[in-house]
């Protein structure tokens, strides 16, 4: 085991994993994290804690992930290259491990123009592939980026993102291959709505044998309304929501009925995804709609989640000199 996390144990044992997402508050209010955690308890195997998602300042992913650990749940701490150079990233990773965090998702990060403070200077000292290389080296060779020996260990189960729908489509599976070569133990994809295109992507991924070297979790997002479906289709680069889905959402009406239809479509997609060769789990991105996750997972037939003993967080013994 690389980290011994619940997520790693589930994936390594060949079970279909379920992860969800939790956006920390735009401030210091830990009650927000606790409330969302309550909604996600027992319905997923690990919870992604976003890192200043869409470049909007929030409680740090290190702190919020530590709070998840304290609550006895398991975080996948997200870490972007946008806000930190290699020094800051390594320092935060040491701190995260010391606080009990065992899963990490390496991201380049949304550009700051999408956030609420585009006067900020971005960093991008590393890209997401460099971050993967650096973390796996820290973990496997016990060395920092500059080759200094690390005091203590860095047991992290390391993941990366993939967008199967970005351009150039033909290159996407190869770029995934680079992330795998850089050490990605698992992959969480961008949200999938266009299932035929995702199948085509996965076919190419399987042809390259990548599904045997990493665990791919397909990203899904429940839609709250037909308007949201249209907005994502138009406003989010690289994501298309097929007409049939928009039509279903429109046909469902508004409010509660639309939200139920959105959850139902999401659950159906998860069932479909389970049949696709090479997919080992699902990542549910119910942004600011955490309450939806439980019913989606139930409708998809993925409850209860496997019981895994919580991590033993007693400090590692001092290395023998």
């Amino acid at each position: 085991m690389k980290s011994g996390s619940r997520l790693e144990q589930i994936l390594e044992s060949g079970q279909f994993a379920v992860t969800a997402e939790l956006g920390p508050p735009q401030g210091s209010d830990r009650a927000v994290v606790d409330k969302k955690l309550g909604l996600l308890e027992g319905v997923c195997d690990a919870i992604n804690i976003t890192d200043n998602q869409t470049a909007i300042v929030r409680m740090s992913s290190v702190a919020a992930s530590a709070q998840v650990c304290q609550a006895g749940q398991e975080p996948v701490m997200q870490m972007t290259c946008r806000d930190r150079n290699r020094l800051a990233i390594q320092a935060d990773l040491f701190g995260a491990v010391a606080l009990g965090i065992r899963n990490l998702l390496c991201l380049s990060g949304d550009h700051q123009v999408f956030g609420n403070d585009d006067a900020a200077k971005n960093v991008y000292d590393l890209d997401s592939i460099h971050l993967l290389q650096m973390v796996t080296r820290m973990r496997d060779e016990g060395q920092t980026a500059s080759g200094t020996e690390i005091e203590g260990s860095v047991p992290l189960f390391v993941g990366a993102a993939a967008n199967p729908f970005g351009d150039p489509f033909d290159f996407r599976p190869y770029r995934l291959g680079k992330k795998v070569a850089a050490g990605a133990d698992f992959i969480q994809t961008q949200c999938i709505f266009d299932m035929p295109r995702f199948r085509e992507y996965m076919k190419r991924v399987v042809d390259l044998g990548l599904h045997e070297k990493t665990h791919i979790l397909a990203g899904v997002m429940p839609l709250r309304s037909a308007g949201a479906a249209r907005y994502i289709n138009k406003g989010v680069p690289g994501i298309t929501v097929p007409k049939a889905i928009i039509k279903r959402m429109s046909g469902a009406g508004k409010g509660k009925a639309a939200r139920l239809e959105g959850r139902t479509i999401c659950a159906e997609m998860i069932q479909e995804i389970q049949e696709i060769e090479g997919v080992h789990g699902v990542h549910i991105m119910a942004v600011e709609w955490e309450i939806a996750v439980k019913s989606i997972v139930r409708m998809a037939g993925l409850l209860p989640r496997p019981e895994i003993a919580p991590l033993d967080l007693t400090p590692a013994p001092e290395p023998a000199n």
Partner: protein, 223 residues
């Protein structure tokens, strides 16, 4: 070349508030080519400043000059007498030229009239694009002659990110091409797509500005 654009007129007027005798000095090299600070622009700015002063009933005398290359002291010597004779020198050179002036004439008050923007090329009349960040360790051979450090908004060395759609960059689809789509297409066209299958390692930024202000010393050409 170095591409610059003139600061907004109100900002320039504010910077010379109370000045009665001013010199506007242009540069005939890069900023003249990009239509920001050559002879013509010196005349235009001077005229605009006079009109503004007249309108407000202020007294303003302007000496208009343009030197060949403001970033070299040798060319600025020809305006030394005028520099000594004005209250403020308003430089229409790039940031390098402004600093050369200030360094060369320690008693002069030198203000910039341009915003120096990037090293780039003209696209068409009235449009310029950034092409080089001066990172100090050129990687163009690897990427088909297209610089991802300059032209990718996240300066990714292993792109493209998920924000590439229809050849455009999500940061500003209307104006920005995705550098990585360009790199992919170009490497494909010249039969070098295999270059993209290898991971480009993390960059050593020390030859870049991140290692502090840079200097080149060439002993072979020093006297």
């Amino acid at each position: 070349m170095i591409v610059a654009e003139r600061k907004p007129l109100p900002e320039i007027i504010e910077s010379i508030a109370g000045v009665k005798r001013l010199m506007v000095v242009g540069c005939n090299t890069c900023v003249a080519v990009c239509l920001a600070g050559g002879e013509r622009e010196v005349a235009l700015l001077s005229s605009a400043l006079r009109i503004a002063a007249n309108k407000d009933g202020r007294e303003l005398e302007i000496v208009e000059r343009c030197v060949e290359r403001q970033c070299e002291e040798e060319y600025n010597r020809e305006v030394a007498a005028e520099v000594a004779d004005v209250e403020v020198v308003l430089s229409m050179a790039c940031g390098v030229g402004v600093q050369t002036m200030a360094q060369q004439f320690p008693n002069a008050i030198v203000y910039p009239a341009l915003n120096t923007t990037f090293m780039g090329q003209p696209d068409e009349l009235g449009s310029w694009s950034e092409r080089c960040l001066g990172c100090g360790n050129c990687v163009l051979a690897q990427f088909g002659g297209i610089c991802p450090i300059t032209r990718c908004a996240k300066n990714l060395l292993n792109g493209p990110c998920g924000g590439s759609a229809d050849g455009r960059c999500e940061v500003d689809p209307e104006h920005l091409e995705c550098a990585w789509q360009l790199i992919y297409d170009r490497l494909k066209a010249i039969g070098q797509l295999d270059r993209l299958m290898e991971i480009t390692p993390a960059k050593d930024w020390s030859p870049s500005r991140h290692g502090g202000p840079r200097q080149i010393v060439r002993e072979d050409v020093q006297a």
